[in-house]
Symmetry: C2
Subunit: 481 residues, 2 copies
């Protein structure tokens, strides 16, 4: 396979899985055009070639991946088919336990830590036949949306390696965006799947709270933590989501979405995705999906070019507004809940070995540890009250659409950027449009929505739990095939 070195502009050549879909790869495996072992080798080679520029991986498990791939090949040869992820390479965020592999949580506190059991989501990946190729870089303890504070060093954006991947699942996004793997697992507490997916130009899905169990995942903020998936497109996210939840996947390795551009016969399927339930528009009453645009100005005053680019994708749709004051209240609620829950997780580490934290993470943790308890109590009450406003938002609409991140990927390490002559604080900007949905545990999907100044932007689609198929049918309808 060709090596894909870093170009002089910081733009990387695409890896072997760029533009491929899970369904297309699954078809290749079953048609004899590929083997799991071959796919694993391609992923491992791409990691070796690209990771020096990306820093997407903390650990690459060549031996484990090849062994799993050989088992997958043997099973398929013996007629044992574990479904659409069978034999496909996948990367797992380093915050998630994989038995026998280091789990550093991106922190020196966990240097050398090797868990002896798989997280539940990893158990499910293995049961689905997936081949785990390695652990991906996370912002330290997932406590940051920039992806550039980690004991492993910053993960970098494949579109421009001088820019941040976003985080905290930065390595997972970078590995998928660079085509090193077709699928990666991440976690999302305030946007940690969706932010890096959007900044790197891939799809990311944060399911409803608890839909994928978080057992074996190191906590950031327990009432906000979600396990999610990152892949090239929405349909692949849906397919992986199904494998990580019920284990049963509608349609199996069937026709692939049209956006797979590598052009095998089997990959020119219907745009509706892998399952009939997401096979086209269909609102809750069976009618057309009621999509409404939420102008993000009430949540954050970001880059208007990003907003306009995303808005243009949707065409004519209804517009909704958040109630007066909602934006500020939900931001405060998120911050109080997240700060207090995170400080609880790290209280002993903070007391005993503060020097092991990255200085920026330490400073934020110390501030979080000082937030008074009554603020948390009040936030829990606000969360309940605001949930009523959110329910009203979904009274007349099935899917709320807005940008995923209101800016493009900033340069690495920057904490303030200039947008149209104004200073914009990077961390609040990154979190502003994703974190509100974590507060309410709502399913939220980001899909690539074009570029601004050559850098990817994401369209975010949000729904109520139970309406997930509508997210995916909407994504299939509005995003470029």
């Amino acid at each position: 396979m060709p090596l894909t070195p870093r170009s002089s502009s910081g733009h990387l050549s695409p890896g072997p899985f760029a533009g491929r879909t899970l369904a297309g790869l699954a078809r290749d495996l079953r048609d004899g055009r590929a083997t799991a072992t071959g796919l694993a080798e391609r992923a491992l080679d791409a990691a070796a070639a690209l990771d020096p520029a990306l820093n997407a991986f903390v650990t690459v498990d060549a031996a484990g991946a090849l062994a799993a791939a050989r088992r997958a090949d043997a099973e398929l040869a013996a007629g044992v088919d574990r479904g659409p992820l069978h034999g496909l390479p996948v990367a797992v965020k380093d915050l998630i336990d994989v038995a026998g592999l280091p789990a550093t949580m991106g922190s020196r506190h966990f240097a050398g830590h090797v868990p002896d059991a798989d997280a539940v989501c990893v158990t499910r990946l293995r049961a689905a036949g997936a081949v785990i190729v390695g652990k991906t870089t996370t912002h330290e303890f997932a406590y940051g949306p920039t992806g550039d504070r980690s004991a492993n060093g910053p993960s970098r954006n494949p579109r421009d390696t001088g820019r941040m991947s976003g985080g905290s699942s930065g390595g997972s996004a970078a590995a998928v965006a660079a085509g090193v793997v077709p699928l990666a697992i991440g976690t999302d507490t305030g946007g940690s799947v969706r932010i890096p997916a959007a900044l790197c130009g891939v799809a990311g899905f944060k399911p409803a709270y608890g839909a994928i169990p978080a057992d074996g995942v190191f906590p950031l903020s327990r009432s906000l933590d979600h396990v999610g998936v990152l892949a090239g497109g929405a349909a692949d996210c849906l397919l992986a989501y199904h494998c990580l939840t019920s284990g049963a996947v509608p349609g199996g390795p069937g026709p692939a979405p049209a956006r797979d551009t590598t052009g095998t016969a089997g990959e020119a399927g219907s745009p509706g995705g892998p399952g009939g339930e997401a096979g086209g528009p269909g609102g809750e009453a069976g009618g057309p999906v009621r999509v409404a645009w939420l102008d993000p100005g009430c949540l954050f005053d970001g880059d208007r070019r990003v907003v306009d680019t995303v808005r243009a994708l949707l065409g004519e749709v209804a517009e909704v507004r958040l109630p007066e004051g909602f934006g500020e209240e939900v931001r405060e609620t998120y911050l109080a809940v997240q700060s207090c829950e995170t400080a609880e997780v790290h209280a002993e580490r903070l007391a005993r070995a503060p020097e092991l934290f990255d200085p920026e993470v330490l400073e934020r943790l110390r501030a979080a540890a000082e937030l008074p308890g009554w603020r948390y109590v009040r936030a829990l009450r606000a969360r309940e009250r605001l949930a009523g406003a959110v329910a009203a938002l979904f009274g007349g609409h099935d899917v709320i659409a807005l940008p995923t991140v209101p800016i493009v990927a900033p340069p690495l390490d920057r904490r303030e950027i200039e947008v149209a002559g104004r200073p914009v604080a990077v961390r609040p900007a990154l979190l502003a449009l994703t974190s509100p949905w974590n507060v309410f545990g709502l399913p939220a999907l980001t899909v690539p929505a074009g570029t601004v100044a050559g850098l990817p932007v994401g369209l975010q689609l949000v729904c109520r739990p139970g309406a997930e198929p509508l997210l995916f049918s909407t994504a299939a309808r509005v995003t470029p095939a």
Copy 2:
């Protein structure tokens, strides 16, 4: 009726309802030996005579009480019988809204505040035909178990008016103990019904969390707040509890418990209480109630004479122990939950008008407002974990028995007393044996269990939600008839 002045020893002569039961009074009303109007007049007269010594009432509503009593009489005459509370005088803690009467919460912050709607429990009292005679003194905002910090001044113990009633429902306990009313409503966040009931020598019942709705009750700590009842004996508590929950009462105004000592024919009934479900021992499998003694030493090192007096009531029963460390952990959990939730309730008052709080209450609130949020998060987690240990405690036992308070009523305003030559901090002592059960929302009953040095002590019985009848059958069996 005879006035009952304060004796020189600080011991008050008993009021008209001392030693009477609700069932006996109900029988009198229906047999024509009493009228609701007459009972209300006796309660009002007793309040006028005794309250200068007790300070049990913030507001006495003579006009409202007499009007309600006349309606009750007219209804009974017309054949409308609202059940066992019909026409009986009741007092309501000043933390609970009664439409048209001041609700001061014991605080200068609410001087002149008159709510225009009844709390749910008051609505239910009225629907049951009860006659509300007034509002009883509460420790300021119910934030204290001593009952001696209130804008209304301290409530005093009828057994010795130089001693504290306990709190925070001190006025309710004093009014019942002095025989001014046969029934009072209180609230219990860490023992605020049971502590003053025990110190004043009456019965008090804190039902399971949420069993009596707290709507219209000023919050102290929302996840710990319970509405409860105080009366002369356990059977009366059960009867009132039924009226405040289902509205339906087993047995109606039937035979009264034997401990009614005023001797009318109708009042020499079975000791089993008003309902068949509490009519005798009967464990969950229909066998004998499995009562187990919990030595309180693991929770607090109090007055051994109190422990021995209470223990002696039970005779031969099993003994249970709490797991190592449980006592300290549950105390910390209670304090963190209560402090943060209380500070949330008062954050604005604390910022804008701290000078309106009693100085001791202010000092405690300020400390509560500084407790970091991660401690609250941790407490919620501990609460879940400890609930497992508590469930195990009830695995082999239906009812856990222990003293209600490990000391007798201290002198007013004292914060440290001497017990057997050791200094004992009053507030922790008062709360130590009651507050653990609030953490888990368990039903808990206190019944008079004799005296130590002439001062009342209480036996506390605790069960799982659903096993309440066993508390009352146990109380009927073990306490003096």
